[in-house]
């Protein structure tokens, strides 16, 4: 008997007490829980919660997006910026930095040497201060937002879902998905929280207020 048959028959033997007539969906699941825990000011809550996890959050009108990105890059002194395919034209203005496009794909070494990356997001979650990338246009391959030390996320206000259930419902499971809540962190040493281990140590979030 191979591993598969061994495991499946052991599981089935263990479940001999479950009536054969019972369907997998028969055991009820209550729906007493709430769909969301956000108040009326979803955008304000998102900004507040993301900032609590040490993301640098600014709220600007859509027309101020490029200027806000430029300020974030200037603050860290970034010299090279990764621009994923499909990022809205003009979102990363000219400046003291060179632009690296991922076409053809950048090598791991090039990405490791890059200072920053600018992306949009698929969805954001207000209650948890989370941004979610589905690595589609404007976000690029997963590694683009992993190796550079600064990640600047541009979040349109209409992409912010109030809470986890709604946000998860907006995602396409066929895409790789990354949920990001603040810069990387660890509490492994005496449970003392330290921001910045392996992922980007700086997370900037630019919220575009009018869509």
């Amino acid at each position: 008997m191979n591993g598969r048959e061994t495991v499946l028959s052991a599981v089935r033997a263990a479940l001999s007490g479950v009536p054969g007539s019972e369907d997998p969906d028969d055991t009820p699941v209550s729906s007493g829980r709430r769909a969301d825990h956000a108040g009326p000011d979803v955008v304000g809550l998102f900004a507040e919660r993301a900032a609590e996890y040490r993301a640098r959050v600014v709220r600007v009108p859509a027309s101020g997006a490029a200027a806000a990105v430029a300020r974030a890059l200037a603050r860290t002194g970034a010299r090279s910026v990764v621009v994923p395919p499909g990022l809205p034209e003009g979102l990363v203005p000219e400046g003291e930095w060179s632009l690296l496009t991922d076409v053809p794909p950048l090598s791991v070494g090039q990405l490791d040497a890059a200072d920053a990356v600018v992306t949009t997001v698929a969805v954001a979650i207000a209650v948890t201060g989370t941004v979610i990338l589905d690595h589609g246009p404007g976000q690029g391959r997963r590694v683009l937002t992993l190796l550079p030390d600064q990640h600047i996320c541009v979040v349109r206000a209409d992409r912010i879902a109030p809470d986890v259930p709604e946000a998860m419902g907006l995602l396409d499971p066929d895409q790789p998905l990354t949920l990001i809540s603040g810069p990387s962190a660890t509490s492994d040493i005496e449970l003392d929280r330290v921001e910045g281990v392996h992922g980007p140590r700086t997370l900037d979030i630019v919220v575009l207020e009018d869509g």
């Binding site: 191979n2 591993g3 598969r4 061994t6 495991v7 499946l8 599981v11 089935r12 033997a13 263990a14 479940l15 007490g17 019972e22 997998p24 969906d25 055991t27 009820p28 699941v29 209550s30 007493g32 829980r33 709430r34 825990h37 794909p105 791991v108 490791d112 979650i125 209650v127 201060g129 989370t130 391959r141 997963r142 590694v143 992993l146 986890v164 259930p165 998860m168 419902g169 499971p173 066929d174 895409q175 790789p176 998905l177 949920l179 990001i180 809540s181 990387s184 962190a185 660890t186 509490s187 492994d188 040493i189 005496e190 449970l191 330290v194 910045g196 281990v197 392996h198 992922g199 980007p200």
Partner: protein
């Protein structure tokens, strides 16, 4: 090597003995008290933010219950979805088989090293040791796992495996060992957590960049879509899940969820229960392989290793709902004092006390169901409502029963219980025994307490002080003072005594 050999650490003493050693370590106790206290407060604060927290817990428990009742069905669906998305599914009945599968997969790549994301399942099967036997070096990349690996140590907490180590010990380990494994610790390394984390970042970065194979565990997998989920904080998980060409994920069969939609429940409960955060910094979800992004080969190893046996026990099976948050460890008064090593198992704390004996057989971990005061704090904290005290009592009965079966003569405890039964069922015998006990107890007591006793009482009395019996039993006192006379016969309605 059988599965049991890895879940429990062979050669470690039983819990009572190990606990005695741990309790004498004052530094360990201080580290633990501080750490568990901090995380308890954080968890309470973020759980209280959700006014429907209890409904969420109930929902999670129901989803898990429903899944386990048809586990075979969900596993087959998962296999189908993962395969359709370009992944390859393997099945392992026990640790040895899982290790064989993973070793063969790594060998097929021609690589001699792998990077690892923190994973309870691979610890449970002793994968690192099995890979080492095959000449493959496994690098742990979670900071705490790195501390444990470099220190030649064992994990003592599910979430924070190096919780028993203070910052200065960690600095020493880094200074001494990092050079042996790769990039040495920076000159002048301090014991500031920030500096220590930076040292780990530098040490591991080169390993991430050159790694061709990664091994991970999984927090969840959705059967309907084939999506696998890893929840983490540091970004080492993202590195391992993204950079290598081959990804091998080892997952306990109980981790499957029926649908992608179920994830919303657990992604609300897990971070809040685990690190006391509204959401952990990074959660990665992937479905098979994606063209041009991340690993080109994805293998999912479904691991039984005692889980189907656990599933067969209708009381004990609820332990399989565990999402490894470790909230039960942090609230447990026993864990807080003994630490994780005393449990002698990969799974310490209250959940370990119910999971370990079931995975390896009660007779191989007979002291663990007793490593608890049954206070119930673990049940209250558990985000999936595992009634740990209920399972503990159930397993205690099994342990006692197993002991009885294996002996020709009854144990002193069994004899004592039988005698107690005879005494308690007769008021006359009880009164006689109470008179004797009052006399005897007061003779051996010091300052009103009975300490360690010799002979058959040694095991009980060695770990407990017993108050000396009162001079007079309640029954004797009642008879002496409350035998109604004509004056004090009760007159109020409540106090009326019918005679």
């Amino acid at each position: 090597m059988s599965g049991a050999d890895n879940v429990v650490w062979l050669g470690t003493p039983a819990f009572p003995e190990a606990a005695r050693t741990a309790l004498a370590d004052t530094r360990l106790r201080a580290n633990l008290r501080r750490a568990t206290g901090t995380i308890r407060d954080k968890r309470l604060a973020v759980a209280a933010e959700l006014e429907d927290w209890e409904d969420l817990r109930e929902t999670a428990a129901q989803v898990k219950r429903r899944t386990l009742r048809h586990l075979d069905h969900h596993l087959l669906r998962l296999e189908k979805s993962v395969s359709a998305a370009g992944g390859v599914v393997h099945w392992a009945a026990d640790a040895a088989e899982a290790n064989r599968i993973v070793t063969a997969l790594v060998r097929a790549t021609g690589e001699e090293e792998v990077v690892k994301v923190k994973s309870m399942a691979t610890q449970e099967i002793g994968l690192n040791e099995a890979l080492a036997d095959a000449g493959i070096r496994a690098y742990e990349t979670d900071l705490a796992e790195l501390i444990v690996q470099l220190g030649g140590d064992r994990p003592s907490h599910i979430l924070v495996p190096a919780i028993h180590r203070g910052r200065s010990e960690i600095r020493e380990i880094f200074r001494r060992e990092m050079g042996e494994w790769g990039r040495p610790a920076p000159e002048g390394l301090t014991d500031e957590p920030r500096d220590l984390a930076e040292a780990a970042r530098l040490h591991l970065r080169e390993k991430f960049l050159r790694a061709k194979v990664a091994v991970s565990g999984a927090n969840f997998a959705a059967a309907d879509t084939g999506t696998v989920v890893v929840v983490e904080s540091e970004g080492n998980g993202r590195m391992c899940l993204t950079l290598p060409e081959t990804l091998i994920t080892v997952m306990g069969i109980e981790k499957v969820l029926p649908s992608f939609a179920d994830l919303e429940v657990f992604l609300q409960l897990l971070p809040r229960s685990s690190t006391g955060e509204r959401m952990n910094p990074y959660t990665s979800l992937w479905t098979g392989v994606s063209e041009g992004d991340g690993p080109r080969n994805f293998h999912l190893v479904l691991l039984d290793n005692g889980r189907s046996v656990t599933l067969a026990d209708e009381v004990g099976r609820q332990a399989l709902a565990c999402i490894r948050c470790s909230a039960c460890l942090n609230v447990c008064p026993v864990y807080e004092r003994t630490g994780g090593h005393a449990y002698g198992s990969v799974y310490p704390g209250p959940i370990g006390a119910v999971l370990t004996p079931q995975l390896v057989g009660v007779k191989n971990a007979a002291s663990l169901p007793f490593a608890s005061t049954l206070c119930g704090a673990c049940y209250d904290a558990c985000p999936v409502k595992i009634d740990i005290p209920e399972v503990l009592v159930h397993l205690r009965a099994e342990a006692v029963e197993a002991k009885r079966r294996d002996r020709l003569l009854p144990t002193p405890e069994a004899l004592a219980m039988k005698a107690a039964g005879a005494v308690l069922s007769s008021p006359r015998r009880l009164a006689a025994v109470q008179r004797l006990a009052a006399l005897g107890g007061r003779l051996i007591a010091r300052d009103g307490r009975i300490g360690a006793l010799p002979g058959p009482f040694a095991r009980w009395s060695g770990t407990r002080d017993t108050p000396a019996p009162a001079r007079e039993s309640l029954r004797a006192w009642w008879r002496r003072t409350r035998t109604p006379t004509s004056e004090d016969r009760p007159t109020t309605t409540e106090g009326k005594v019918r005679r």
